[in-house]
């Protein structure tokens, strides 16, 4: 276990109890009526879901940046998140979202479809450039179909449902979503973690990695499956939550020796921490309606990204 893992795990353990008490109404376990029920049925599943979603997005971001050898890579760019979103939007469009299982199931099918497309196009050769292009194309296709669904929404209610859902949130989620996403995200993180050594070898470029015995096709399949499971499951239960996969590896990298393999678990922990804290903050903010988590994180993420570009520009001059 490296230093970053230890620090972040400690911070996460400290943040969890605070997050459970935080809300428009701060919970006092001794005096608040029905505190036990509120904790067990509302706050705890929401906190667990924040941890699951954040961990998945953080780990996926770290793995994608390692794979593409690019610190600006975000798992959302590569078709799987837009694919999952398209699935969910289809469920809302057809009015299937009345059943609590159908929307996440549709989203998972969407993510699976995007994964299958990526694998079919790029999986045979295992080339990184082909994978990137295929991912961007799948992302824009899914985005276009989502936009089409919004513009042809059967009624205004469905349209607002879709738009709201696309700005991810953890409002009104229950243990059901935790049990649905938790195992898939954990499996995904395990696959990404397993790809760590190969990602380290990729530091020296694809030919060297292959000369060191890395099976680039197997690596690509691991990544598609790992990112598909983590990001697909996250989007299925929480909608689109951007920037976590982009920001988190950056924040974590200075705490590690910068080898991609050393970044995956700490990024999962930091992602969990970021989403947990952000979701607590949006609950506490004194607004008329709760700020959507996806919007909050983008509001936080975009300036961060600009700062990052500024710093990189200075580094390049």
């Amino acid at each position: 276990m490296n230093r970053a893992t230890l620090i972040l795990a400690t911070l996460l353990l400290l943040a969890l109890p605070v997050s459970l008490l935080a809300g428009r109404v701060w919970l006092d376990p001794a005096t608040t009526p029905n505190a036990a029920i509120i904790l067990a049925e509302l706050r705890l599943p929401r906190a667990m879901l924040a941890i699951v979603v954040g961990a998945g997005l953080g780990a996926a971001g770290a793995a994608m940046q390692g794979y593409l050898r690019n610190p600006l890579a975000d798992p959302g760019l590569f078709g799987i998140a837009p694919g999952a979103a398209l699935g969910a939007v289809a469920a809302l469009w057809f009015g299937y979202a009345i059943s609590p299982w159908l929307l996440p199931a549709f989203a998972l099918v969407g993510a699976g479809g995007a994964m299958a497309l990526l694998a079919a196009i790029a999986g045979r050769t295992g080339g990184i450039a082909l994978f990137t292009l295929a991912g961007l194309m799948v992302a824009s296709l899914a985005g276009a179909l989502t936009a089409l669904a919004i513009s042809m929404a059967p009624n205004a209610f469905a349209m607002s449902e879709i738009v709201l859902w696309l700005n991810g949130a953890l409002t009104d989620r229950s243990w059901r979503e935790v049990w649905l996403a938790g195992p898939l995200v954990m499996l995904g993180i395990a696959l990404l973690w397993r790809s760590g050594t190969s990602l380290d070898a990729l530091t020296l470029g694809e030919p060297v990695a292959r000369s060191l015995g890395v099976d680039t096709r197997l690596l690509l399949w691991l990544l598609i499956a790992g990112v598909g499971l983590t990001v697909g499951a996250s989007v299925a239960v929480a909608g689109i939550i951007g920037f976590v996969g982009l920001i988190v590896p950056h924040l974590v990298r200075p705490l590690t020796d910068r080898r991609p393999s050393q970044l995956i678990v700490p990024s999962a922990l930091a992602g969990a921490l970021l989403v947990l804290v952000a979701d607590s903050v949006v609950r506490v903010l004194p607004l008329v309606t709760e700020l959507r988590l996806g919007i909050a994180l983008s509001l936080l993420g975009a300036p961060f990204f600009l700062l990052l570009l500024l710093r990189m520009r200075r580094g390049l001059v």
Partner: protein
């Protein structure tokens, strides 16, 4: 362990190249731009699959070898000095141990020592100069203790001091039994430091043999189409035009 290529052909790059490489010596692959040098090296490293023909290690086809066994036997150093992340130098050199599935300190230390870069072990990769980077990347190959070292233009972008130092290290590796194959643009380095030269022209072998013969002025004039002559004594030759 011999490395052999049988009738190697790759569309528009190599046609019908056959050769046998013996360990314990330095072989230079030379030729004009686009002659197929890098393709030949990649094929010999098992990284490029020929359209026809095969590369074999001591009689068994490279394609049929498990990637890990191949990686333990053949160390490959590409021309590009790409280091994507600012990782510690030591962890870069340790990557050479990857096929063995360990990060044993002994061969890593030995590789760092062989290239006189122990003092760099704690530095970050992206803080190194070009010459330091070249040595670190060669140390990565040596740390894997491969039987064969295949390097594409290892001297490019190095000053003369670093070039000679690197050639010295490669000679030491050959003396300890490794087979060393280098793609070299600088014909004088090939002439003075290799035991054998293979001259490629348009995907075919134009000359193959001891450097004095294979890099003879007539061969150079025929393949590179420039009038040249060698001056100096054996082992210290220089190539001049005219």
């Amino acid at each position: 362990m011999r490395l052999t290529a049988q009738e190697l052909s790759i569309a528009e790059r190599l046609s019908g190249v056959s050769l046998t490489l013996e360990p314990g010596s330095i072989t230079a692959i030379c030729g004009p731009n686009g002659a197929g040098k890098s393709s030949l090296l990649e094929a010999l490293a098992g990284l490029l699959h020929p359209d026809s023909g095969e590369v074999a290690m001591e009689g068994s086809a490279l394609d049929a070898m498990p990637p890990r066994d191949r990686a333990m036997t053949i160390g490959y150093l590409p021309q590009a000095h790409e280091i994507a992340w600012d990782v510690p130098v030591r962890s870069l050199v340790e990557l050479g141990r990857m096929p063995h599935g360990d990060r044993r300190a002994e061969p890593v230390d030995a590789a760092l020592e062989a290239l006189d870069i122990e003092h760099l072990a704690g530095r970050r990769a992206q803080s190194l100069s070009g010459g330091e980077t070249a040595r670190v990347l060669l140390a990565r190959v040596l740390a894997g203790e491969p039987r064969w070292i295949l390097a594409d233009e290892p001297l490019a972008a190095l000053d003369i001091g670093h070039q000679l130092a690197l050639l010295h290290h490669l000679r030491r590796a050959a003396e300890s039994g490794a087979g060393v194959v280098l793609v070299l643009h600088d014909l004088a380095h090939a002439m003075n430091h290799a035991d054998r030269a293979i001259v490629l022209d348009d995907g075919r072998i134009a000359a193959d043999g001891a450097c004095e013969d294979a890099l003879d002025r007539q061969v150079i004039e025929r393949v590179w189409k420039v009038p040249v002559r060698w001056i100096g004594e054996a082992g210290h030759r220089a190539l001049v035009s005219g």
